[in-house]
Symmetry: C2
Subunit: 502 residues, 2 copies
């Protein structure tokens, strides 16, 4: 029964299955180890080799996908362990994660102590929590279950579980938008204005996960965004700003893990949201942060009461951890600008920065309002004068100059492409636009190919309040392939409530 | 870009991976569907063919495990859909499960209405909930978060989500033990006594999931337990009792799903426990139920206060749904009987039923107490006389006669086997046994091969309070292979707190 391996060892086989944040290990359910240890599917295992250890969830194999002396691992798990096919790995039952006892305590309505949240978040960041344990933690924190001291402690714990940046400037600005409205691409404009005014604003952004474009996707149309931490520092040192992708920085790794579970459960936990946003800003070395908070029935924040409470949380937690936070409550009922999708949004951004007459006025004014609030926070502008000052930077061309400088420092400045295929969608009746389903609109853009095909997406010409006649253009779909255009139109034909005309 | 398939179709490939209760679908992350729909790992999908639909979680494939026009499915998923390799399946994004909105409401401290729990449990039983949604539901119900009316409604919902049995007898007895103590094999003895007294007691049992033996494993050493529902009815009609495996009956399918998640989270939710036990008993057509509740530091119920509250819940919920429930609170600090493992426990059971002088007295008296409580509930015995009446059935041989009759009706009556290898573990010092770690003891038995090798396990000779000298036998490991014996001894050498001698 014994061979050269010892009791808890198997040979690695490479299995190209990506199980997202949770590693998986594929073992024959009738192998010696599963038999003797009583392992079944979903058992949490500790897998080690070369002094490295990962936690993995067992997937029971019933076929010849792996042999009895083999264990399948994903490429990412193999990389973390530093093993190749045929290498020997050690497999043990995972000892219960000790900090999960505090999560159980929370279910019995206990308060989290700061040190307990620290341990939980450290374990989450290390990948010790299974997806269902993460779901239990997120659920136990949801509703109004976290007090302000707990949200503050959670924020601190998230900061200390990741890496942090520091800057030589005493004032470092940043912004964040709560909940993605299609086309809400204010960041490139805000950064250009604030940096043009002489301030440090090292803005990093995410790529789209479920939306037609993230700021990083939009900026990638114009310049390089995939910069290492040293390059980002250089760009900021030379230009005051940056518009890079932040994904490589691991500023709040626990938060990235929790967000995936919250998204899957569609839970809008206020405490988690505040901790998530502010921990990333604190870790990025910011001192002054403006929160863009769109309010609307298909936005993340649905009512002005919710917005008011959330605003208070942001301000109080920010104060506790030494961040100056201000909030800009805006209209979340419809897209901002005309373009939806990386290149089309980039066109809007460039049009505003170039101060073109046909530039989308809503995007221009919202960006100026956000930048103006920042200029007031740092006493560059008098109270109530910030927006006018910000508009000045757009109109005198200094913001556009700064934008070009930042792009060139990041490695390129190029014109956005135009998609090969267009399809116009016109109104079938006369009336006034009264409502827009932002979620369905985003899906049309995604099916057309955004953000994978940067030029794909939508040009949107039907803002709320606009009068239209039958035959008037409502929006134009852009696509790089006839197949994707067909998918987009197929979906369009299947829905009814995209744009309400009355 | 288009071929003969339409936009959301792929060909089935058989993948022998068992993902337990949650189906998985393996798709190339760069296939058309994932690309256009924005599917990523863990996206919940609706997969349909032949008018059947299942819900599956996407596992993103990066290798050539499947082709771009293929989707991998487990054998169980293929069976449910009625498809073979090469068949076409339709894939859609799962619409959010509507009843999950009530779970979100619970997070905000709302009460569940009866109809809401009904919808949730129906959806759970249909496999619509992902593991993380199940974890959120279980967490939202944990602690003291369920009121008595909610527990009652949950119990009713669980009953109506499964199939139910009915019997011609107006009085139908059953028992349940909360939390597995090693060796606590009272059911075969209790059923034999109660059936010998002329009552109907159609006891079905589970196989071991994580313990060295379930009652079904123990009974399988002596007779057939894998009976269909019609055979079970015949056995009960002819003998009054049965001792069969209940797994094929699907009495409370939602509960089976929830239990797996609770086990993984190690949450002891009182509301869920009460609903779980009583829903299965009600579905099985019982009218009178006795709950065996061992209390001890390594048992499920840890204190007498907990036991008291739990007992009250059992009684009140039982009353609401028309079940007579009584509770027997017993010692949960150490194993019951001598044997741990299917055949060794079967030997204890037979020894008690044969009324042998060397039969384990604790097992005999506990079984008689439980049976006696039942006899009092149904007014066969006077209050306080039940246990004496039960012992009478053991001593006059009628319980053993009934046991043999039941076994023969189930298809066999055979002697338990003895394992090929034994290893004696003796005390290294003199003193008194003060504490036993039941969990570690169970693990030694499992590593020795129980319950897969029916003869494997432990004979335990070191009850609490016993005086021992250095060299005295504490327990004997039984194993069917030298390899498993080696694993068991290897583990034994690595732990310290198995038996405390002072």
């Amino acid at each position: 029964m014994h061979d050269h391996r010892s009791y808890n060892q198997l040979k690695v086989k490479s299995i190209g299955i990506d199980t997202y944040k949770e590693h998986a290990i594929y073992m024959r359910i009738d192998c010696e180890i599963c038999n003797s240890e009583g392992f079944t599917s979903l058992t949490r295992l500790q897998v080690s080799a070369n002094g490295q250890t990962i936690v993995a969830t067992l997937m029971a194999v019933l076929s010849n996908l792996v042999r009895h002396d083999e264990a399948g691992l994903s490429p990412e798990a193999m990389k973390k362990l530093g093993v190749r096919e045929g290498d020997i790995i050690n497999i043990h039952h995972l000892k219960p994660v000790r900090s999960f006892a505090y999560v159980r305590g929370k279910m019995y309505d206990k308060f989290f102590l700061e040190d307990q949240l620290m341990q939980i978040i450290q374990d989450v960041a290390k990948g010790q929590y299974s997806n269902i344990e993460l779901a239990a933690f997120v659920t136990a924190c949801a509703g109004d279950n976290l007090s302000l001291p707990e949200i503050t402690a959670l924020t601190r714990a998230m900061v200390s579980a990741g890496s942090s940046l520091s800057w030589s400037s005493p004032v470092v600005l940043d912004k964040h938008s709560v909940g993605g409205l299609p086309g809400n691409r204010t960041s490139p404009i805000v950064v250009s204005i604030v940096a043009a005014a002489g301030f440090t604003i090292p803005k990093t952004s995410s790529r789209s996960i479920t939306s037609p474009a993230g700021t990083a996707d939009t900026m990638e149309v114009i310049t390089r965004v995939d910069l290492g931490i040293e390059s980002i520092k250089n760009v900021v040192y030379n230009t005051g700003g940056c518009l890079a992708w932040g994904g490589a920085m691991e500023l709040s790794p626990a938060d990235d893990i929790l967000i995936a579970v919250e998204k899957a459960l569609d839970i809008e936990s206020e405490g988690q949201l505040v901790a998530s946003v502010l921990s990333k800003k604190a870790a990025a070395g910011s001192t002054h942060v403006v929160i863009d908070m769109p309010v609307g029935s298909t936005a993340k924040v649905r009512s002005h009461d919710d917005a008011k409470r959330l605003k208070q949380y942001f301000h109080e937690v920010g104060e506790s951890i030494g961040l100056n936070v201000d909030t800009y409550i805006s209209d979340g009922s419809q897209p901002v600008g005309v373009g939806i999708g990386p290149a089309l949004e980039a066109r809007d951004v460039l049009s505003v920065l170039k101060n073109e007459t046909e530039a989308p006025a809503d995007l221009k004014h919202k960006s100026a309002a956000l930048a103006g609030l920042m200029l007031e926070m740092v006493n560059y502008s008098e109270k109530g004068k910030g927006k006018a000052d910000a508009l000045q930077f757009i109109e005198n061309g200094k913001a556009y100059e700064k934008f070009k400088t930042i792009c060139l420092a990041q490695g390129a400045f190029r014109e956005p492409p135009l998609a090969q295929y267009q399809f116009d969608v016109s109104s079938t009746k006369a009336g006034v636009i009264t409502e827009i389903n932002n979620r369905n609109l985003a899906k049309v853009a995604k099916l057309a190919g955004a953000p994978k095909s940067p030029a794909a997406g939508i040009e949107f010409f039907a803002p709320i309040g606009k009068k239209v006649n039958a035959g008037d253009l409502l929006f134009r779909i852009h696509s790089e392939s006839t197949g994707e255009m067909a998918y987009s139109k197929e979906y369009l034909a299947s829905i009814e409530d995209l744009i309400t005309i009355q």
